[in-house]
């Protein structure tokens, strides 16, 4: 076996592959975060709404998504769901980047289910009087939530939401199963082309670890600020 040597990763094709993978992973993280936060807020609202039907809907969403592995979500949204679309949509989807669209759909729905629970417990930690005061001032349920409860709750929920972001960052790696060219995919590609598994996996581990540590550091800092 050759000596451990990271230098060959730092130039030429391999570097470009790995960097493009890392960039795509970060993009997946950013887009999913942007989409799943509002969705999670919506689901949390459903679970707290003054209607049993809406509560049930919210609970069903969370339980149905959380009790199925992310891998199965990816398989469904990539192989199954596009078949359900009308033909014109399907053609357009297959012509575009269907892998990325499926991956973002699966990741967004999955992450939102977890985040909804964090936001819900954030909301429940706000004293009930705040809500009553809002209603007594004449605000509707939604307006009270939007103007008075949610801004306070998001501040409380920030540390757990960041730890969900950490999970999301690691979960982007599973997108490799449906052929999204993210970091894990490019690592396997470099490994297959160069037969240097140690170097390729060291690079990927370090990249995942660094981003994870940044997010965890942010969470610790926020935790201190909140308390």
């Amino acid at each position: 076996m050759r000596m451990f040597d990271l230098n060959f990763l730092l130039a030429g094709d391999y570097r470009d592959w790995l960097l493009s993978g890392l960039l795509l992973s970060l993009q997946l993280l950013a887009i999913t975060l942007l989409l799943s936060l509002p969705l999670a807020c919506g689901v949390a609202m459903l679970r707290l709404a003054p209607s049993r039907l809406l509560n049930g809907l919210g609970a069903a969403y969370v339980e149905l998504i959380r009790n199925v592995p992310l891998l199965a979500h990816f398989l469904f949204w990539y192989f199954g769901a596009p078949e359900l679309l009308p033909d014109t949509w399907k053609e357009r989807l297959y012509a575009g980047n269907i892998e990325a669209v499926s991956a973002i759909t699966a990741l967004t729905l999955y992450t939102a289910a977890y985040m909804a629970e964090d936001i819900r417990s954030g909301i429940r930690a706000i004293p009930a009087q705040q809500f009553e005061a809002g209603r007594a001032l004449g605000f509707s349920f939604l307006a009270t939530m939007r103007l008075c409860i949610v801004p306070q709750a998001l501040r409380l929920a920030a540390p757990p939401l960041l730890s969900q972001t950490l999970n999301l960052w690691q979960n982007t790696s599973i997108a490799t199963v449906i052929g999204v060219a993210e970091l894990m995919y490019q690592t396997q590609r470099v490994e297959a082309a160069s037969f240097r598994s140690v170097e390729a996996f060291v690079f990927a581990s370090a990249a995942y670890l660094v981003v994870s540590l940044v997010i965890a550091g942010l969470a610790a800092w926020l935790q201190k600020k909140v308390s």
Partner: protein, 230 residues
């Protein structure tokens, strides 16, 4: 969908067994159970090391926990896949690889559960045990751990749910667990991806949801018991 179930239910449940190796849902459950059972002692040791009064033990374990929690399980599986053979000297196969990766990964997460469980035991208990003349290890073993384990039970059931979900990643290294079998069935039928993957999702859901309900029930019972004791 019924036709699909009728044709492939046995393949889905046990794979090619008894003609070939065990697979399908049975393999998923077996792998998850073995992983949990084997990672428990590992997690207990790591958790206690993390809490130990000796810095030389505490710091390396804390570093290990941070590193493993910072990388995706998929990467742990690949490390195991490529380097287990060179450490043990012989091929470990997909099942062995997956089991090793899960034991390491779950052990790390269990260590944090153990830590939380031990920290939830009032410090007066340790002080009482120490003042009765028990040394550190004995007071842990005889006084703190039995109480901590009771606190940990709901978290352990939840960890089992996570482990079941994690076994699905075995597909990537070609382990014939239930997701892999579903993809095989999809390849055989070709025309029904929606139904095949919907069934796969529902199978996981039934398994995991009933377990997470059990955890919820345990948690509520524990809260009641604690209230009654107070």
């Amino acid at each position: 969908m019924l036709e699909l179930l009728h044709d492939y239910w046995l393949y889905f449940l046990v794979g090619r067994y008894p003609e070939g190796p065990l697979g399908g849902l049975a393999l998923t459950v077996l792998l998850a159970s073995l992983a949990l059972v084997l990672s428990l002692p590992f997690g207990l040791l790591l958790g206690l090391a993390r809490l130990s009064p000796w810095r030389l033990l505490r710091w390396p374990v804390a570093a290990l926990i941070h590193v493993v929690r910072g990388i995706p399980l998929l990467l742990v599986i690949f490390w195991a896949y490529f380097f287990l053979p060179s450490i043990t000297g012989h091929e470990s196969g997909q099942f062995g690889t997956m089991l090793a990766a899960l034991v390491i990964f779950d052990g790390i997460y269990l260590a944090e559960i153990v830590r939380a469980g031990v920290q939830a035991v009032p410090t007066g208990q340790v002080e009482a045990a120490r003042s009765l003349g028990l040394n550190y290890l004995d007071s842990m073993r005889q006084v703190v751990l039995p109480q901590a384990l009771r606190h940990m039970l709901p978290s352990l059931v939840n960890q089992f749910v996570s482990t079941i979900k994690e076994t699905s990643l075995g597909t990537i290294i070609g382990l014939a667990e239930v997701s892999f079998i579903a993809s095989q069935v999809n390849g055989l039928v070709l025309t029904k991806p929606v139904q095949v993957y919907f069934l796969l999702g529902m199978t996981y859901f039934v398994l995991c949801f009933s377990l997470s309900r059990a955890a919820f029930w345990l948690e509520r019972r524990q809260a009641r018991l604690l209230k009654a004791a107070a």
